[in-house]
Amino acid sequence: MAGHVDALYFALVAMAAFFTFLVSALILYFAIRYRKERSPQATQIHGSTALELIWTGIPLGIVMIIFVWSSIIFFMQTRPPKGAMEVYTVGKQWMWKFQHTEGQREINELHVPSGRDVRMIMTSQDVIHSFYVPAFRIKADVLPGRYTSTWFHATTPGRYHLFCAEYCGTQHSGMIGEVVVMEPADYDRWAAGGVDGSLASSGEKTFQQYGCSMCHRGDAAGRGPNLVGVFGHPVLLDDGRTVTADESYVRESILNPGAKIASGFKNIMPTFEGQLSEEEVIGLVAYVKALGNGTANLPIPVSEPNSGDYPLAPKAESSAAKSDKTATPPAKTEPAKPAAKQ
């Protein structure tokens, strides 16, 4: 990818240099050739439509070539290949938090394998941030309240700068980190080391802890849709529209369930806005995704004590509801406070 961007970039540098030198050279030549001493009398020339058309048409042609070329690159930059591994990212003032599907969590350091496609699914807990790795020539803003994504394919193991590129407050220039690109075998060892369960399995715990399984049951009797096999497929809504069940749809359905009701179901699900941390939502998304591709199953709808807790989730961010370890939906508690007002 960096190669494609650089190729276009240097083509543009050549184009810009050509026109800059053309204009400068002409100005310089005219200024010397037609200076008053040599050219005491100006010749009035009112213009030339032919010339105007030429110097409108040629630049137009050039920029259209650039447009097509850059759009092709842009398509590659924004369309992750199928089967890319996924890393979930939460930006907050002023750190980057990463969650790997294998279960690893890290802050301001992102381990990825070389030679594989990596898709970042990102959201922010507070203001807008921007995920920027100059070496990969990619950048994508990270917004509160929604998922954005980007992807890259690192080729060479090493350590690369990671910057926040959207101004986010006091420590904006401190919201930096490193992307550590490892040999695939090393990465697999790293990803397997010292985790007690995948991201989907922690999502499954959240799913049970908040009583989601009471309604979203594995049989047809649930008050909510059976979530097995849903992710990645079209969902018919009660107003006749169809949406694809992607990360954003799952997220919206958790935090704003009334926005898009699946056909055949009632708008009875309470919102979990303010009750789940972004990390918990990500766990749930990963779990629903795993249900979608058959790598996980819906649990039997029976409450069981929740044993797993979040190893890296800072205490201050966990909502009040989090300590509620029963399987019933937690009573609505005070909404989470803006993290930045600390």
Binding site: S39, Q44, I45, F67, G169, H172, S173, A340
Partner: protein, 547 residues
């Protein structure tokens, strides 16, 4: 300023000595005096913004954030942007030279609404007052772009006061735009058809359209920011149910056209100056005039190119990329036409012409690097880096400020009746050109290497280029300070300019310098085409020169 003029034993009444005393200035409705009020105010704010810029450049001499705290640094770049954009660049040429010259160029006594014109200056000062209040009560740290939800929920600075200031200043700009539009429509001298208008007028007309149509959107946006910040209405903050991208759409819907508010008037100046010092009618008059109008129209259709990485859809990004490439064309047409104007001219190299050359070179680089940013595939890498910083400084300083200095030198004799010292002026033009390039060219490289903008501290591999940039900034500062000194000097000691020291075409040169309060002894009747340099230089009819 006026005292110096008064001391030079006025032989004739002109607009400067027609009345004396503070009130004669504060209550004036003379467009020329209001232009001078604006000139004084924006010069003050230019140096204030420049002071912030110097502190930014000094901080960036070293990779560590060691000169000021990061909060202070964030306030410095915010205040630099707010002051330079809202208090200097947007009013600069339209409110000073547009104000002064539009009536004179079309043979009118004043603008259509003289009192509205004065009100515009008072609104400007009131808005500036609110912005200064925000700066003095702890500063502002949102960036000049006021991005939400940072500005509405997270910033601890005086956002509301600054927002009120920007809101009010916006109305001064609407008033100026309205005034210029109506004046151009209704008050042209007999015989002065649209096809005979100086290109300066065409570009100012286009600028005024943008001011009148675009600025209300900024005003609404700013009000919404204030509502969300004060009353927590959920408009832009996702937590409250709002949409942070909505802010960016609204903000750039004004702020992209605002870039053309800053550059079109400079283009207006360059068209006049190139014509005068090559003694020729500009090549392709119609194309230059229509390209101004095209820029004003297309400029409204490209705002989301500031948002390619912000989370807009792939297809939206591509459409805005395409439209962005279209808007590059009229600017290119202008550059080619100015260059062609030189062909078979009779060129001299007075200071305004040097600035015009500098403008074409710097604006060409600024415009071409805009093509880089319009290419989405490149933009993803270089947006929000120093590449963007370099690009818009090439346009706004290399284009906007250079055009302002060009205008200041070109019409200084008309405004004051005095000539500036030519050799000092040439020296400062060269310093500005060299200092500017040394300051901002390295930033293109920094951006491509990946240095993000608005960074208080940066990785050490970026230091060399940052040192070069800071060195350039100190040369640039000298280049900007010199004119202050020699122009002030010229007020007392400068040679008398006479009505038309450059033998320039244009009605403004056919009256005395400085002009009388009502500009012309009698309303001129125009029987010639604009830029009749063949007639002025004595081959044909010849033009009456009054005074």
């Amino acid at each position: 300023m006026e005292t110096a003029i008064q001391n030079t034993e006025p032989k004739k009444k002109n607009y400067l000595n027609a009345d004396y005393g503070v009130m004669s200035w504060l209550l004036t409705t003379d467009h020329k005096r209001i232009a001078l009020l604006y000139l004084g105010s924006i010069t003050l704010f230019f140096f204030l913004g420049g002071f912030f810029a110097m502190l930014i450049r000094l901080e960036l001499l070293t990779p560590a954030g060691d000169l000021v705290l990061s909060d202070t640094y964030n306030k410095l770049f915010t205040m630099h942007g707010v002051v330079m954009i809202f208090l200097f660049l947007i009013p600069s040429i339209p409110a000073v030279f547009g104000n002064f010259l539009v009536p004179m160029m079309i043979g009118a006594k004043d603008l259509a609404f003289p009192k509205l014109n004065l009100a515009s200056w008072y609104l400007y000062m009131a808005g500036a007052g609110f912005i200064m209040y925000a700066i003095l009560t702890g500063g502002l740290d949102t960036g000049w772009t006021f991005y939400t939800p940072y500005s509405t929920t997270y910033s601890n600075t005086n956002v509301v006061s600054a927002a009120i200031g920007v809101f009010i200043v916006g109305f001064s700009s609407i008033f100026t735009g309205l005034n210029i539009m109506v004046t151009v429509h209704r008050m042209r001298a007999p015989g002065l058809t649209w096809q005979r208008l100086p290109l300066f007028i065409w570009a100012h007309y286009a600028t005024s359209v943008i001011m009148v149509l675009g600025t209300p959107v900024l005003a609404i946006t700013i009000v919404l920011v204030a509502l969300e910040r004060i009353f927590h209405f959920g408009i832009f903050d996702a937590r409250l149910g709002g949409d942070p991208l909505l802010f960016q759409h609204l903000f750039w819907f004004y702020s992209h056209p605002a870039v053309y508010i800053m550059i079109l008037p400079s283009m207006a100046v360059i068209s006049e100056v190139i014509a005068c010092f090559s003694r020729k009618r500009p090549f392709g008059y119609n194309f230059i005039a229509m390209s101004s109008v095209a820029i004003a129209v297309l400029g409204f259709l490209v705002w989301a190119h500031h948002m390619f990485v912000a989370g807009i859809s792939t297809y939206a990004a591509m459409i805005f990329s395409l439209l962005t490439f279209f808007v590059a064309i009229p600017s290119a047409v202008k550059v080619f036409n100015w260059t062609a104007t030189l062909y078979k001219g009779s060129i001299t190299f007075e200071t305004p012409m040097l600035y015009a050359f500098a403008f074409i070179g710097l604006f060409t680089i600024g415009g071409l690097t805009g093509v880089f940013l319009g290419a989405v595939g490149i933009d993803l890498h270089v947006t929000d880096t120093y590449f963007v910083v370099a690009h818009f400084h090439y346009v706004m300083v290399g284009g906007g400020v250079t055009g302002f200095l060009c205008a200041l030198h070109f019409w200084w004799p008309k405004m004051t009746g005095k000539m500036y010292p030519e050799s000092f002026a040439k020296l400062s033009a060269v310093l500005v050109f060299l200092g500017f390039n040394l300051t901002f060219f390295p930033q293109f490289l920094l951006g491509y290497m990946g240095m993000p903008r608005r960074y208080h501290a940066y990785p050490p591999e970026f230091q060399v280029l940052n040192v070069l940039s800071t060195a350039g900034a100190s040369i640039l500062a000298v280049g900007f300070l010199l004119p202050m000194i020699y122009l002030a000097w010229s007020l007392r000691y400068g040679k008398d300019a006479g009505p038309n020291p450059y033998r320039a075409a244009g009605l403004e040169w056919q009256t005395v310098s400085p002009p009388t309060t009502f500009n012309f002894e009698e309303t001129p009747v125009v029987t010639w085409e604009a830029y009749n340099y063949d007639e002025i230089d004595g081959t044909t009819k010849g033009v009456e020169v009054a005074g």
